[in-house]
């Protein structure tokens, strides 16, 4: 598994932000909310979620819209949206560096930014990407080069509470049922490390208060 690193409250003007890196992949997530919302987006019983994904180079196109949709549906399952009716929660993700794990880094950055902003959630969530080589080896957190050589890649987002269910699954390539289960199992094991990393980062944030 690649090295995870994170810096919380990276942006001074956002309610919550996180600069998250997995190996050479870096994503910056900024969360603002619950705040004001346009009348057209106002929902009487819940908060309106908006995700904006910006690629590191070039304009935002269909690929970014697809990533926004995946991240939105993941985040929607975790945030307690019914606590903040008639508000909007904006999540903006800037892809700083990409080496194949843009989705994982973005989802994890979004989770840490939401924790930093203090938005109430049912659970935390962690994304793990893996790829399977032609010889059948599963590599967790592969590089772009390893993904190009692989037969298939899959990204799973797990929740931390309860039975660690899968919140989102995204798969590309040709996977047999057995291989799919193998990937899922490896990713689930790796997600425990990601949750442990979240806990260490949160403990670091509250270090000053714990000490006093």
């Amino acid at each position: 598994m690649a090295q995870h690193a994170c810096e919380l409250s990276f942006l001074s003007r956002s309610d919550g932000s996180a600069l998250y890196s997995i190996g050479l992949n870096v994503a910056l997530a900024s969360v603002n909310g619950p705040g004001d919302v346009k009348v057209s987006n106002r929902l009487y019983n819940r908060s309106h979620l908006e995700v904006c994904y910006s690629p590191s180079t070039g304009h935002s196109m269909i690929r970014e819209r697809a990533l926004e949709s995946v991240i939105m549906r993941t985040v929607e399952q975790a945030i307690l949206v019914h606590l903040h009716p008639r508000t909007a929660i904006n999540i903006t993700i800037q892809e700083m560096q990409s080496d194949g794990l843009a989705l994982s880094a973005s989802v994890n950055a979004a989770c840490m930014a939401l924790l930093d902003a203090g938005i109430q959630m049912k659970t935390t969530f962690a994304a793990v990407t893996c790829c399977i080589t032609p010889s059948g080896t599963v590599i967790i957190d592969p590089t772009e080069a390893e993904i190009q050589e692989s037969v298939a890649e899959a990204t799973f987002v797990f929740e931390s509470s309860g039975e660690a269910s899968v919140l989102t699954a995204h798969q590309d390539g040709r996977l047999s049922y057995e291989d799919f289960k193998k990937c899922l199992h490896h990713c689930q094991v790796a997600s425990k490390d990601v949750f442990a990393f979240y806990r260490r980062m949160t403990e670091k944030k509250y270090q000053n208060e714990i000490e006093s």
Binding site: D15, G16, N32, G33, P34, G35, D36, V37, A78, L80, L83, H84, P85, R86, T87, A88, L115, D116, A117, G118, I119, Q120, M121, K122, T123, T124, E159, S160, S161, G162, F195, Y198, R199, T202, E203, K205, Y206, N208, E209, I210, E211, S212
Partner: protein, 235 residues
Amino acid sequence: MLGGLESVRVVLPGDEVMSYNPDSSGGSIFLGPGLRWEDGMVRAAKAGLLKKTSRHLYFVDTHQKRYIPQRREYVIGIVTKKKGDIYKIDIGGSEQATISFLSFENASKKTRRDLALGDLIYGQLIVANKHMEPEMVCIDAYDRAMGMGVLPAGGVMFNVSLQVAREIINPDCPFLLTLSKKVKYTVVVGMNGRVWVKAAHQNSMVALMNCILMLEYMTPDEANEKALKLLEALM
């Protein structure tokens, strides 16, 4: 630990705090902000420090900047609009709060307190829940001002994180008193993370502002030690 509170541990959303069944468990427990009770299990809903008081009140202390309006809290607001008999006040939440012109000391239908746009108001939230827009008043139940009302001109208002605001108004925290050893000043702290400071000279006000902002990054003890040195350097 300040004030009889005990820090238990750092929690993340979804963490199980304890299981509680009203039928089988002995005494009652009280859940404060950041905790939810679902299916017999108390879980954390926010990332932060789980704390408990001696009277079985549990809550999660989160370091955050965004204010969610809460009833009975004292906040500093900025007047943004006048709509007939009501003023719209920005308190830093998702919706603006309203305040009636009658909600000031000695106000009556004949004698109005006219507020200009951009005035700072220190008041208490009497209505604040997820269903309704917040409402503020500047009088207490007996129609006395009790320090609330329009803040005088000439001070400086700045934003701090919510936990810093809570820290400095805690009676057990000596920080504001330490600052008063060097400078004579007036301070008003809103639970919405807004602090207003007024002193005789502008450089004192800027110095005080920077001292309070230090608390964002340091423990109260460290800040206490460095405060006087910083004031000396800046004034």
